[in-house]
Amino acid sequence: MDLSYSAEEQAFRDDVRDFLTTKLPEDLRDKVRDGGELNKADMERWHAILNAQGWLAPNWPKSFGGAEWNAVQRHIFEEEAAAHHAPRIVPFGLSMLAPVLQKFGSQEQCDYWLPRILSGEDWWCQGYSEPGAGSDLASLKTTAVKDGDHYIVNGQKTWTTLGQHANMIFCLVRTDKDVKQQEGISFLLIDMDTPGVEVRPIVLLDGGAEVNEVWFTDVKVPVENLVGEENKGWTYAKYLLTHERTNIAGVGFSQAGLTRVRRIAKSEMSGGKPLIENPHFAARLAQVEIDLKAMATTNLRIVSKAAAGTAPGVESSMLKVKGTIIRQEINDLARRAAGAYAMPFASEALEGSNAGLPDPSGAGPVASQYFNNRKLSIFGGSNEIQRGIIAKVTMGG
């Protein structure tokens, strides 16, 4: 048992810190730190900086242009990136589609699509959920019918994050209705500029529209855009979901969130003293810190196992549940700390809409973030679904 990083790991961390200190643009850092909204250009800029460094695709093999970091290195990077208020990397192409292509796609597909992900030429989004298929994803109804050298796609996807920026979408579609649900699903890559594709924004409760509905009406998709085999899409989707969960604990986000809560609570006054000195508030803060410290170690234990080659199973479901509970608790503390100044409508989604808003505690859109992050326990397999998985795996229910 050794709780410290090895000399190599520490050297790596120093490199990461050095990079973040020198290469992360100040305006992006400030935006992330203060809860501002990142626009498309912001995200593309950070994408390009990481690509230039060769760190854009930490989990890809070197042969595909990735950094091929091990799990501990990836963890260090994620933790440092969050602590330095670096923008989050848009994951859809890099860490969701790419692993599927690398494992199940053809050589031609890898050669064509992967470089375009790195260069930023393609912006991918994910076409999984449907209005009737949320937690029960396998009941999805969007159909793809083969017609010569094309599929004809009809149906609707929803909750498509950042779909408004995307030119490509990877979709789960039904290619066989007459078999068990999971056995009639295929994994299809669709150009969003194809006639018949329509993107409609969904306005969320914080006023932002980061998610969309995507409608398909007789959309022609070339058969070479099928990944792997027809009707094997469910296997690929499950593989993708385990990748979606590699950083599911969000330890770095929570640490950055706590720093922010402390900052607000130091400037917010309560009874003539900074709120952070209020015993009741301090107790709440300490409670979350204690939970987070333990979870960070749980995360490292699982990460080390993964680094040794054991794929995390039920542990990733556990990290998802605990990680989201902690992140949401920190969001709750942040809005609590801001007091009456949490009431103004300062949405991170509506950049500049409330310019000049009085904000003595520097709290920013804490209440909007609190509401927005209710999504954490809903998406990527809700916490109820995760608990079901844990129960099934550990008790065989």
Binding site: G134, L204, G339, A342, E384
Partner: protein, 377 residues
């Protein structure tokens, strides 16, 4: 013991509930929220016509109610429908303070409020006061026959729409003293007042109100010089009861929507409410709803009690509603899934109302500490 509403209150509840059900749906409210004023004059006029504002004042004040249970009945319905119009600010807070403290000429304002012609706001909180009612830093200084106000009032709800403001300022003593605080009622366009407005997350609008050498005649003072604290505390108690009832109404809507959704939304071939994990969660919410209703009844029923008892009950209710409200809002969203987070779905607004109520008149922590202090006193 009798927990039934009186006939008059029952009638008021039925009338108001019917009116709002017919006139105040999600799309209507979203349009009102997005409008420049953040409120509907039409709705306001009709609420006045229905007697809703009059029910918030006693007979001596020109109304026909004004007791804790009158406030509770009205605000539970306003909360159930997610009404964003500033009833709490114009009628209960500012209007109520004028009714409680005003001399004969000032009382004339109350009549206008009850008739629906007058909007008011209570400018009391300050950037560093947080939830303490006694931390008044704004100053009022006598200069000859005049009074000069200076200071910064924070997150003043309804300040932009208000024709008249009720402003607190310190005439003597130090920040934190209950003694020395005075109230003034003045036109919102008085020279020296700057109002910087903004929308609120849960609907409605508020503003920072800057007071720069605002000159008033001494007749603008409400009640005795330096002696306004008790009246402020009592009015904030009334507003807290109203707000707790409003939150209760909103929680009723949240649990109603959730129950319906659990019965109709199917996943894995069956209604999701048949999954025990969700059914038990729903049961927990319903248990908390009963707690919340009782907390509101306790506070409303003690609004006319002596100060110590009244304030303990109010702090108990605010603490419980903050906790139960958060649970109901968060679990209702969770059990719905993504749909609950979309602006066009009723629960999105209702959940914001429930949670943001904890940021006015003191949050769960503030009232827990206050309850302990009051119990020890």
């Amino acid at each position: 013991m009798n927990f039934d509403l009186t006939e008059e209150r029952q009638m008021l509840q039925d009338t108001l509930r019917r009116f709002l059900r017919e006139r105040y749906d999600t799309a209507t409210r979203n349009k009102i929220i997005e409008s420049a004023s953040g409120m509907s004059d039409d709705i306001w006029g009709q609420l006045a016509e229905l007697g809703v504002i009059g029910a918030l004042f006693t007979e001596e004040q020109g109304g026909f109610g004004g007791a804790g249970f009158d406030l509770a009945v009205v605000f539970e319905e306003l909360g159930r429908a997610g009404v964003v119009e500033p009833m709490l600010d114009t009628a209960v807070l500012a209007g109520g303070l004028v009714a409680d403290l005003g001399d004969e000429s000032q009382q004339a304002l109350v009549e206008e409020v009850i008739g629906g012609a007058m909007q008011m706001a209570f400018a009391h909180g300050e950037p560093s006061s947080r939830y303490d009612l006694n931390r008044v830093q704004a100053t009022a200084k006598a200069e000859g026959d005049e009074i000069v106000l200076n200071g910064h009032k924070a997150v003043v709800v309804n300040a932009e729409a208000a024709q008249m403001l009720v402003v607190s300022a310190r005439e003597s003593g130090n920040i934190g003293d209950t003694d020395g605080i005075s109230l003034f009622v003045l036109p919102a366009d008085t020279k020296g007042i700057t109002i910087q407005g903004y929308a609120l997350l849960a609907g409605g609008r508020a503003a920072e109100v800057m007071l720069d050498d605002v000159r008033l005649p001494a007749s603008a003072r409400l009640g005795a010089a330096g002696k306004a604290f008790d009246a402020i505390e009592a009015r904030v108690a009334a507003a807290s009861v109203a707000q707790c009832a409003e939150t209760l109404g909103a929680m009723e809507t949240a649990t109603h929507l959730t129950k319906e959704y659990l019965g109709t939304r199917k996943q894995f071939g069956r209604p999701i409410g048949t999954f025990q994990a969700l059914a038990h969660r729903m049961s927990d919410l319903l248990i908390e709803m009963e707690q919340a209703r009782s907390a509101v009844i306790n506070a409303a029923g003690h609004l006319e009690s002596a100060r110590g008892e009244r304030e303990r009950q109010v702090s108990a209710a605010k603490n419980l509603m903050g906790r139960a409200g958060r649970l109901v809002a968060e679990d209702s969203i969770q059990m719905h899934g993504g749909i609950a987070m979309t602006q066009e779905y009723e629960l999105a607004h209702i959940a914001k109302r429930i949670v943001m109520a904890d940021h006015r008149f003191g949050d769960t922590d503030h009232h827990l500490e206050r309850y302990i202090a009051l119990a020890a006193a």
